[in-house]
């Protein structure tokens, strides 16, 4: 993907999610010789009807989750849709158990992981985007390859190594590697950084700044949206990660994702509490999304655009 094309696509994708599409893709010529007005109106109604129906389907599971979360235990098995009594206490009950510890673990993993990833991945992406050196292309291809290959391929030897350092049972085997660059973030940042015109950095260099200073002072501020996007992605990756903690973490160190999955068996299948706990893991994500929709879209588009 050429830089320009990437930029163009990024822009449209950002528009795609953050603003209402300015015009239907089908256009609407003032007086088209084709379709009569009536058919257009019909199409309009049909499209909106389908959209509303789909929306209901997309929202229904979340709604059911919420309604169940405030039911009493008996009612959850009754098939009732609407809670007879709104038991808001379910949320506090859930939080008083293991949830608090899981939450702490999730935050540790996600916050440290994101910080480490930024520290290590930014310089690499910068180098791949701006330096010309022999093997650059190979390096980039390798980054993409590691990004694509399933983590399960290398998990056995890695586990053995971490067991040697007695760090299995904790989340560190998942956090520490992020100090050494994350392929997906490197890839994404690099895709963005190549779109920043070189002139700015060159000007800074003429001013006598070293390469590192140039990166920190000049290029990174311009890359703020991309940085925000990779940070968010990394945060959510860690927050949602189930496989990694399942392999490494002891119950002490479980994050929310693993805890929630065992919640049902541990709580004698109380669906109302299970749903309350599950909902609590969803809420932060939704809030962040509403606050940072634009960042998300740009990020996703960067991933999609490339190929």
């Amino acid at each position: 993907m050429t830089g320009t094309a990437a930029r163009a696509l990024t822009r449209t994708a950002a528009r795609a999610l953050t603003r209402t599409a300015t015009a239907p893709a089908g256009g609407r010529p003032r007086r088209g010789p084709g379709g009569p007005r009536g058919r257009r109106a019909l199409l309009w109604v049909a499209a909106h009807a389908v959209a509303i129906a789909l929306s209901l389907m997309f929202l229904a599971p979340l709604l059911f989750m919420f309604l169940t979360a405030v039911m009493s235990d008996e009612q959850t098995l009754s098939g009732d849709l609407w809670p007879a009594h709104w038991q808001w206490g379910n949320f506090t009950e859930v939080l008083s158990g293991d949830m608090a510890r899981w939450l702490g673990n999730s935050l540790l993993y996600a916050v440290l992981g994101t910080l480490f990833m930024l520290l290590s991945s930014v310089p690499v992406a910068y180098a791949l985007a701006r330096f010309r050196f022999r093997g650059r292309k190979v390096a980039f291809v390798l980054v993409i390859t590691t990004m694509m290959l399933p983590p399960q391929i290398t998990v056995v030897p890695l586990y053995i190594v971490w067991a040697r350092f007695e760090l299995t049972g904790t989340l560190w085997p998942l956090i520490l590697p992020l100090l050494f660059g994350d392929a997906f973030s490197i890839f994404l940042l690099r895709q963005f950084l190549v779109t920043i015109p070189r002139d700015y950095a060159d000007a800074a260099r003429v001013d006598g700044c070293g390469e590192f200073t140039t990166m920190v002072r000049v290029v990174l501020p311009m890359a703020r949206p991309a940085l925000a996007a990779v940070a968010l992605f990394q945060f959510f990756y860690c927050w949602n990660d189930y496989y990694g903690p399942l392999v490494y973490a002891k119950p002490d160190a479980w994050p929310l994702a693993v805890g929630i999955a065992t919640f049902r068996a541990a709580h004698n299948v109380e669906w109302n509490l299970t749903m309350a706990a599950t909902l609590l893991t969803v809420l932060p994500v939704i809030v962040v999304f509403l606050l940072a929709q634009r960042v998300f879209v740009q990020g996703i588009t960067l991933t999609g655009v490339k190929g």
Partner: protein, 324 residues
């Protein structure tokens, strides 16, 4: 694959500085790349080689024994391995295309909406953000036969519904449904592509009397097809590592059987949700047949690499000149 083109402007300050400057530059590159170089070696290169080594051993983390090709021989005739491969294949061949098609449909619909487009877009996208574990738990509940709200609603309407995650024939369709619900990522990429189709093309086509289907068929589709292919290939690669949803659905649906004192065969119900990565996990981290798990890992590597190469090729056809 690594033919460096280097077409664009060469570094401006090449010759004058001489050898020292070159060495300096090389060191600088190394310094910037060092985190990744170390990380790649330690967390990818080494373990990949070690996986090959361990695949010839019997290793339970206590005792290491060289067993030659025993693990490889076991793979042929291992019914669980075959079952897990078929399950993963099912997901790759059915769930991936369904997601891409549904994503395209949703994108196309969004592109047509004028009123409330932004709102609909957010709603369509939202489920993708729900953490996979939570989404799976919620789905198992909502579709739960007997007690789930959807089951209840269908009952009222007189529509018979399958047992979804409790029926070996319906658990994978249940997972596919979950995949469709969280179609947001595919949809957004495709929406960007759909919106990027030049409007003049549509207008011209309309003047020529092309209907909506013809416009879609002859204008939209050809323009977005590279993005479709991209979504499909990355979808395949993602699905090859499909683990979380399958494992959680099995665990939650089995519910009380997953308690201390009972040992559950993975992939409830009836091994129908046992995906290949999950089998690998089971052999490695429940049975501690580390050597055999490495054989499975190498197999996964081979297949995933195939699709990664496909993707890299696609990249290539897209990308020339600058950067990639």
């Amino acid at each position: 694959m690594a033919a460096v083109t280097g077409a664009s402007a060469a570094a401006p300050r090449g010759r004058t500085a001489g050898a020292r400057a070159r060495r300096h530059r090389r060191l600088r590159v190394l310094a910037f790349l060092s985190p990744w170089l170390i990380g790649f070696t330690l967390f990818f290169g080494y373990p990949l080689l070690a996986t090959v080594y361990f695949s010839f051993t019997r290793y339970d983390l206590f005792n290491l024994e060289y067993v030659g090709l025993t693990n490889y021989r076991y793979l042929f005739g291992d019914q669980d391995a075959r079952r897990s491969m078929l399950n993963t294949l099912w997901l790759v061949t059915l769930m991936v295309p369904l997601r891409v098609l549904f994503g395209l449909g949703a994108a196309q619909l969004l592109a047509h909406l004028k009123r409330g487009g932004g709102l609909f877009r957010s709603i369509f996208y939202l489920p993708y953000l729900v953490p996979p574990v939570s989404a799976t738990v919620a789905f198992v509940f909502v579709l739960n036969p007997g007690t789930g709200p959807v089951d209840h609603l269908a009952d009222l309407a007189g529509i018979p519904l399958p047992d979804w995650f409790n029926d070996p024939d319906w658990s994978k369709p249940g997972l596919a449904l979950l995949g469709l619900w969280a179609v947001g990522d595919v949809m957004i990429i495709l929406l960007a592509a759909v919106l990027d189709v030049p409007r003049q093309l549509y207008e011209a086509a309309e003047i020529d009397g092309a209907g909506p289907w013809q416009r879609f068929r002859h204008i939209t589709l050809p323009t977005v097809s590279p993005v479709l292919a991209f979504a499909a290939v990355t979808g395949v690669i993602q699905t090859l590592q499909y683990f979380t949803q399958a494992m959680v659905a099995g665990k939650v649906a089995a519910g009380q059987s997953d308690q201390p004192g009972t040992q559950l065969a993975p992939g409830y119900p009836g091994g129908s949700t046992l995906t290949f990565p999950q089998y690998l996990y089971d052999e490695g981290f429940r049975q501690f047949n580390m050597g055999y798990a490495c054989v499975l890992a190498l197999l996964l590597f081979a297949v995933a690499m195939l699709f990664t190469l496909l993707l890299l090729r696609q990249f290539h056809s897209f990308a020339d000149g600058e950067a990639s």
